[in-house]
Every structure is written in C-alpha cells, then in structure tokens.
Symmetry: C2
Subunit: 368 residues, 2 copies
C-alpha cells in the first residue's frame, strides 16, 4: 500500500462505486472482492518477516441471500467515507456507525446496523478491497504514544501548515496521532536511531535526561501496546533508514508488544506491510542482563502464570523459534520462573537506564 | 496546599528529617503525624463542594512494634525523595521502589520492601504529613489527557525555557503531564471557558473543527478517567476564573468521570482541594437531550446492569442527590433503562456536535 492523500481516497472510492454501477447497468450481479482475512489466509513469510494475508479472495455479491445485507451495508459505509473525504472531516468507526444508524431515520423500523460489532468487519472488508487503510478513509483509530527527538512534524490543520519541533516539546513530547500519512510530513530527521520504550514512565526518565539529544535519536513510547498510528510511524522511520531498538519489560506483555511491532499481529495482518518493522531489535531487558549487571540478580520478580504460559506459546511460533537467542531467553524464564522489569534499571541511580541503553547498543547485544 | 517548587520541597523534607533527629537527640521516641486517610475521616463538605480529609490524625513512631518497620520505611522514602529533588530528576513510585530495593544490596537478606504495594501507602503518608503532593517530591504519576486552545505553556526542560503554544499543536494537541505545577507555567490564557470532553475521539472531532478557536476556549480530553495531572490542571484553569464544562457519555462511566473531576475521589481525598473543581457543570449528554434533539430517540442504547446499579448508588450520595436535576436524570435512566453516548451527536453530520455544545451553553442547560 502507498501513502494516499484525500484526492486518491476519493478517486478509489468512486472507482469502487462506479464498478458496481456498471455491473447493475449491464444487468449483472453487482459484486466486489476482498482478500480473505480468515485465520487460514494469514501467513508468516520468513523472507518478508511479518504476518500478512495470502492470496485467498472472497467475493461479496448483492444477489446472494447470505451476503445481500452485508453487501448493502458495505456500500453504505463506502458512501459515508466518500462524504467524509469530500468534507475533509474525520471521525471514528463509532461515529460512522451512528451516522449509518441515523441515515434511515426514525420512521424506518429496520436499522442499517443494530450494533457496531456488525459494521467493524465491513470497514476492514472495504480497507482490504480498496487496498487502503481506514485512516485514508478519514476514519481515525485509537491513538496512543508519544515522541521526542530530532525530527520536525509538518502537520496540516485546517488551512494552516504547522511546524512542530519534536525537540521542543519539553516534558510532554509530541502525541502521536492516528493518521501519520495524510496531510502530515516528517522532516529534518537527523537522528541516528529510533528507541521505542514500552513504558511511558521510562520514556519520561530518558526524556528528562535529554537522552535523545545526547545520543541524537528519536525517543518513542507506545505507552503500552502500540496503537496503529505508532506502529505505522515506526515503520515509516525505519523506511527512512533508521535502526529501530525496542526497550521493554522482560515479561509476557513486553515480549508481546515487541513482536507486534516487529512482525505485526493476526488482527492487522491485512495491513502487515504498512505497520510491521521486521528490522526491529529487542534491546532488553533480558534475563541474560543479569550476567552483565550483577545487581539485577536481586531485582527479579516471580514470573506469573501468564508469563510462563506465554513463553511456552512463543517457543512454538515459527517466527520466534527460528531465533536461537529468543529460544534461550524464553527457556531461561521457564527454568528460573523469574522475570525482570525495565524499571529495575533505575535501582543504582535514576540515570543508570541511560548507561544501560548506551552500553547495550555499543556491545551490539540485542535479541533479534 | 500551595504550588511548591524544588527549593520548598527540599526545605520541607529537611525540616521533616531534622524534627526526627531532634527527637532522637533529645532521647525522645522519634515520630511524625499524618492526617488519617481512613474511610471514616473522609468527609464531603457541601460548602467546599469536594471530598477531603477530616481532622483525625495518626501518629507514626519508631518505638512501637506495630509501626517501627513502617516508620523506618517512610524515612527511607523521604531520603530518596530528598535526593531526587537535589538531583532535579524525576521518577515514579515504581522507580522509587526499585531504588529502595537496591539500597540494601545483595548481601542483606532483608529488603526494605518486598513489594510495591508496601511502599505506595507510605508515599501517601509522606504527602499528607508534609502537606505536599508526590509531584512536588519529584514522583510522577501516570499521565493521560490532551489539550488545545488559546493558552501558552512555559515548560522548563533542563536549562531551557520552552514556550509551547497550545493553538499550534495540530491534530495531536499538547499532552498533559503528571506535574503541572513545578517549573511549568500557563500564560496568555485568553479563553472564555474550558470544555472537558471524555472521549479522545470527540476531542479530535471538535479539535479538527477548530471549535476551540471559533469559540475561544480551551479544549481538554482526559481520555477517559482523568489522571491527577489533568484534574489538577482543570482546577488551576478554574482558579484563573474560567468556567468548566464537562461533556461526557450519559452512562455510569461518564457520570463517574464527571463527579471525580467535580468533587474528587475517595482515594485522592487527601489532595481534594488541589484537584477537585466543584464549579464544573455537566453539559451532557443527558436523557433530557432527547426532548430537544428528536433524532436522539433513535440513538439510545440499552443501559447495562453496571449503568443501572451505578445510577442507583449515585442517588444515595449526598453530594449528588442534593441536586434535583441529577435525581431527575438518574431516574430517567432507571425508568427507561436506556442511555446515550456522546458519539451519537455525530449522527446528523460530523459537525453537529459543535452546534450541540454551542446550543447548550447558550441555553445555559447544564446539570450542576
């Protein structure tokens, strides 16, 4: 998929509609196709390094009793998105749902949709079939994540072009939006690498130390699991040639966040190439860190049942067990039944975390 | 409590320590007192309009078998905070916990703390007994929330004074930090009022419309339940004379978020005066909105068990049932078993939400 702006979105939606109109005019059964998002069509390709969809297609046609309603619903969604793009206004899939609910008015007994769970998969149908992301259709997803460092953001706000300097955002950082493609640019990227820090607390620690300035890097926190916008931004920064290092807790949740950034996820396999960053490396914390930093011995926590179960599961994933370093790390957790949090690195002194990152990058000691 | 800067924090911590040293030198049992944070000492004062602590005090002394360990732990926490303030570095209560864990080193079998649940209440002890907030002790709390509008933020970052213009933050807004008091100022506040919007999605909608510019307001989203920093900032803006309107879902969660902003919460009653904004008004959405906006009739959702239970509970709170408007609203929910989301206001068209806010403010139609 490519970076599309409003004009492209409008054209693509109109092409989608005109194909259907042509079918109808020609007396044919109107239909469209979408790549299947079924589990069986999700593949991990070692060469690509991320989860994506295979070649299986699904057809949605109007003259099919099982599909007729869904077909009509998808057309209604496309029409709404076309309007949003024309108006140059954004909403969410929930806002879209209420517009559809409103459309038929109070006198019609049948709603287009009775609940949002019905409309969500159809939006994905549309994304896949148009080869666009919902952000390109003016639908914002949940946003989360923050950034500071040597990069400027050129954001378009109404008729204004704003220049936001991510090195001048102080304690707050720049809040990463849902859409980092349309009407927004990242310029003057002078950084050496991107450091992604799971916890906002650790991001704040490194930010306060001016770590991004001293090391000339871009410092990102997804603030937990990475939202679509943050994943997409990490991918874009990698496309600019920046190495990506991820610094997380050494536990089930930290590993999961890392692998989601690196290989994408089942749910979003349909936009895998846009949001996965297979080049990413795991900087820590790891159980092996104890060998270099003696004090960590005293800082471990008991691994929870969830951590152990997750470690076991991860050993079965082909995209993980192909890396012997990960197999070793996970086995260490399973044998010792211990884990480490990234916060432990504040133990000796608050700025120790800075040294740890520098040190590991210098030694080139990452998990793949 | 007053806005304290680093120098004050240091002085207060040193006074706290020197009192204890004096006790010891004089051969007395070292002790300090803290206002009791027990449920029975939490009061709602209708004149103040928020939850705060009563006059009951608790003494913590060293020569008391039940208190000796906690006393020692609190002193250790105070010493660490003193160091953080001196270094001019911040961490979280989790970072503090790991510093305490580290302190005794690997050769001592006994940790100062075995888990963080032990240290958290002692930090509150210290806040109460010093009459300071943890943010003044260089301990950051979780942050969440975003702001745009006609206000400038003067943030101190290392040796730099940064001026961040909240009217130039584009689609992202300015991320509200944990500490909005120390080394940070809010200047050029030219706004007419503050609008607090529960859901980030609706904040983004209004932000995109330039609603804050057109109406000359400050637009805040707590992004769900308001964090300490966001509550404190709302209080500070009210102190500058700005009216505060809250725009939430008309359900259990939306009501809870409103009342937490307005009257504070049980957990944070010890800093009630710093974070509660009794002047706040509830702009909507309400079940009464259906009378003015006919289309909303078709937009209601079934109230969940949680919503109904919460409505019932709220009717028993003296700070709620003193307002007949709230009693009426809650009874409407209980009778109809329906509720409304703020997203519904995007039904007729995306910008309808702007008109709704203007309209309700013009009519002065709020719940107290």
């Amino acid at each position: 998929m490519t970076n599309t702006e409003g004009a492209d979105s409008k054209a693509k939606l109109e092409e989608f509609a005109s194909d259907i109109v042509s079918d109808i005019s020609a007396g044919k059964n109107p239909k469209f196709t979408a790549t299947a998002r079924t589990r069986s069509n999700i593949t991990y390709d070692a060469k690509k390094g991320y989860l994506s969809l295979g070649n299986a297609k699904e057809e949605r046609s109007f003259l099919n009793v099982a599909q007729s309603k869904r077909f009509m619903q998808t057309i209604a969604i496309a029409a709404k998105c076309h309007k949003f793009v024309e108006e140059n206004l954004h909403t969410t899939i929930r806002g879209l749902y209420y517009q559809l609910k409103y459309s038929l008015g109070e006198d019609v007994d049948e709603n287009i949709f009775n609940e949002q769970a019905e409309s969500n998969p159809l939006i994905e149908d549309l994304e896949v079939s148009l080869n666009m992301r919902r952000e390109d259709l003016n639908l914002n997803a949940n946003r989360k994540g923050v950034l500071s460092g040597n990069v400027k953001i050129i954001d378009t706000f109404g008729n204004e072009k704003l220049e936001i300097d991510a090195s001048k955002m102080g304690r707050s950082g720049w809040a990463i939006p849902s859409d980092v493609d349309n009407d927004i640019k990242f310029v003057d990227v002078k950084a050496k690498y991107v450091l992604v820090v799971e916890k906002d607390a650790l991001w704040q620690r490194l930010n306060e130390d001016g770590f991004w300035r001293k090391e000339n890097i871009i410092l990102i926190s997804p603030q937990g699991q990475a939202a679509r916008g943050t994943r997409r931004l990490i991918r874009k920064l990698a496309d600019m040639g920046l190495p990506v290092y991820v610094f997380n807790d050494g536990d089930a949740w930290g590993w999961y966040i890392y692998w989601t950034i690196k290989t994408g996820s089942m749910n979003l396999a349909y936009i895998g190439s846009d949001i996965a960053t297979p080049e990413a490396k795991f900087i820590g914390v790891t159980m092996s860190d104890i060998e270099h930093y003696d004090f960590l011995k005293n800082m471990t926590m008991k691994a929870s049942e969830v951590d152990l179960k997750r470690a076991q599961e991860m050993l079965a994933y082909p995209w993980i067990n192909r890396h012997k370093e990960w197999v070793e790390e996970l086995k260490k957790v399973l044998v010792t039944k211990k884990k480490l949090e990234q916060d432990t690195l504040q133990g000796p002194r608050l700025t120790f975390v800075d040294d740890y990152i520098r040190d590991k990058i210098k030694r080139g000691e990452f998990l793949p």
